[in-house]
C-alpha cells in the first residue's frame, strides 16, 4: 500500500461518527447540565459582537498611544529641563546644578543672533560670575578650595567682559558703516531727483514744517548716537573691570547693569531699529516725484 492509498484510507475513517440518537440525547442533557445553577444569558446578535470586537475606541486609543507617549515624553523633558534651569539659577561652582547653569547660558548665547542682544547676554553672564564670586566668598571664605573656584570665576568674568567689548566694537563699526551707507544713499537720492527734474520739470517739493530732520540726516544722527552710546558702554565696562580688580563685586554688578541699560537705549539702524521705515519712506517720496 503506497502512502497515497494509506492517507485515503485514513481520511475515510472520518466517516466514523457517534450514534446520532446518543448525540441528540446528550445535547439535551448537556444543555440542562449547563443551565443548572446559572442564570441564562441572553444570546447576542452577531453584529453587536463584531462591533464590540472591533472596538473603535480601543483602536483609537491604541493608535493614539505613540502620540500620547511622545507628548508625555516632551512634557517631561521640558518640565525637567525648565525646572533644572530654574533650580540652577542660584547655583555656584561646585554645585551639582552649576553645569546646567553654564549649559543654559551657552545655549542662550547660541540661540541669540543679534549682536546687541549677545553683548547684553555677555554682560549678564559676567554679572552672574561676579555674583557667584560673592556667594563663594560668603559661603566658603578665602579657603584653599575656594581659591581655585575664585580664580576660575575671575577668569571667566574677564572672558565675558572681553567678549562683550568685542561685540560693542562690532556694534560701533556697524553703526559707522550704517552712517556711511546712509550718506551715499542720500546723495544718490538727490541725483535721481535732479535727473527727474530735468526730464519733467515739476514744482520743487516744499520743505515740511513738522520740525523733523531731513530724511537723509536722520539715520546718520542715529548712527552717531549709537556710536556715542557704545563708547559710553565701553567706558563703563572698563570702570566695571577696574571695580572688579579692586574686588568691589557689588559695584561691578551695578555697573554692568548700567551698561546694559545704556546698550538698551542705543538705537542702531542695522540692529532692528524703526529707522528702516524712514529710509523706505524717503525712497517712496523719490518714486512719487515721477
Amino acid at each position: 500500500m503506497d502512502e497515497k492509498a494509506l492517507l485515503k484510507k485514513l481520511n475515510n475513517l472520518k466517516n466514523i461518527q457517534p450514534d446520532s440518537a446518543w448525540k441528540s440525547r446528550y445535547r439535551e442533557v448537556l444543555y440542562s447540565q449547563i443551565s443548572a445553577g446559572s442564570a441564562a444569558n441572553q444570546p447576542e446578535s452577531n453584529l453587536k459582537i463584531i462591533w464590540e470586537s472591533i472596538r473603535p475606541r480601543e483602536i483609537f486609543v491604541e493608535l493614539a498611544k505613540p502620540v500620547w507617549l511622545t507628548g508625555a515624553a516632551c512634557v517631561l523633558i521640558l518640565t525637567v529641563g525648565i525646572g533644572g534651569v530654574y533650580a540652577s539659577k542660584n547655583s555656584k561652582p561646585g554645585d551639582s546644578l552649576y553645569i546646567a547653569k553654564i549649559i543654559s547660558e551657552r545655549t542662550q548665547l547660541a540661540m541669540t543672533f543679534n549682536e546687541k542682544d549677545k553683548a547684553k547676554l555677555g554682560l549678564e553672564f559676567a554679572a552672574n560670575r561676579a555674583k557667584e564670586i560673592t556667594q563663594v566668598l560668603k559661603d566658603e571664605g578665602q579657603s584653599d578650595a575656594s581659591k581655585e573656584k575664585l580664580e576660575n570665576l575671575a577668569k571667566n568674568f574677564k572672558k565675558e567682559i572681553s567678549q562683550a567689548k568685542n561685540r560693542l566694537t562690532a556694534i560701533k563699526s556697524s553703526g559707522q558703516q550704517a552712517k556711511d551707507d546712509e550718506q551715499v544713499f542720500g546723495a544718490n537720492l538727490g541725483k535721481n531727483d535732479q535727473r527727474m527734474e530735468i526730464a519733467e520739470p515739476v514744482k520743487p517739493a516744499e520743505p515740511k514744517n513738522d520740525g523733523s530732520k531731513p530724511a537723509g540726516e536722520q539715520p546718520a544722527a542715529i548712527a552717531t548716537s549709537t556710536q556715542a552710546n557704545a563708547n559710553q558702554a565701553d567706558k563703563m565696562l572698563e570702570e566695571a573691570e577696574k571695580m572688579f580688580d579692586e574686588k568691589n563685586y557689588d559695584g561691578t554688578i551695578n555697573k554692568l547693569e548700567e551698561v546694559n541699560k545704556v546698550i538698551n537705549q542705543s538705537a542702531n539702524p542695522l540692529i532692528g531699529g524703526d529707522d528702516n521705515g524712514q529710509v523706505k519712506g524717503v525712497s517712496e517720496t523719490a518714486t512719487s516725484t515721477k
Partner: protein, 188 residues
Amino acid sequence: MGKIEEKLLLYKIRKKDKQAYVKAYDLYINQLYRFIYFKVGSKEEAEDLCSAVFLKAWHHILSNSLKDEKTLKALLYKIARNLIIDHYRRSKDRETVSLDNGEGGGREIVDEKQNAGQLMEARADWLVLETKLPELKDEYREIIILRFINQLSIKEIADILNKPKGNVRVLIFRALGALKELVSREEK
C-alpha cells in the same frame, strides 16, 4: 463552518452563552468522539468521555480559563487528552485495550448523508486499519488521528499538543512511516 463563524461562536461562549455552547457541541462532537474512540477503543467509553469533556470544558469557561486558550477546539482536545490519560490510569488492563472486537465491533459507522458506496469503503478501510492503529505508539496514534482522520492543521495540532510546529511535522512524518511499515508488513 468558516473561521469567522468559529470566532463568533468562541466570543459568544466566552460570554457564557449556553446556546452557543450547544452549537459548539454540534460542531465538534463528531471529531472529538473519533479522537477519543480511536484512543480508548470502546464506543461506550468514548461516549462517556465525550460527555465528560464537554461538561468539563463548560466549567473551564465559567471559571474564565478559556482566556488562555486560543480556540475552543484546542481546549476541548486538551481536556479530552487529560481525561483519556486519567482513563488509562484507572483501567488496569490499559495494555490490552483494543478497538472493539469483531467485524464492525461495538462501533457504528453512522452518517445519514453518505451513500452506501462510501459506507462500504469506510468499513473496508476500517478493517485494514483497526488492527494497526492500536499497535502504534500512543504518540503516533494520536497524531495520525489528529492530522489524517480529523484533518486538523499543523498549527491546531501544535496548540493542542503544546509543541512547536516543527516538532509536530517531524512527529507526523515518523508516525506515518511507522503506520506504513505496519500495514506493509501485514500485506506481506
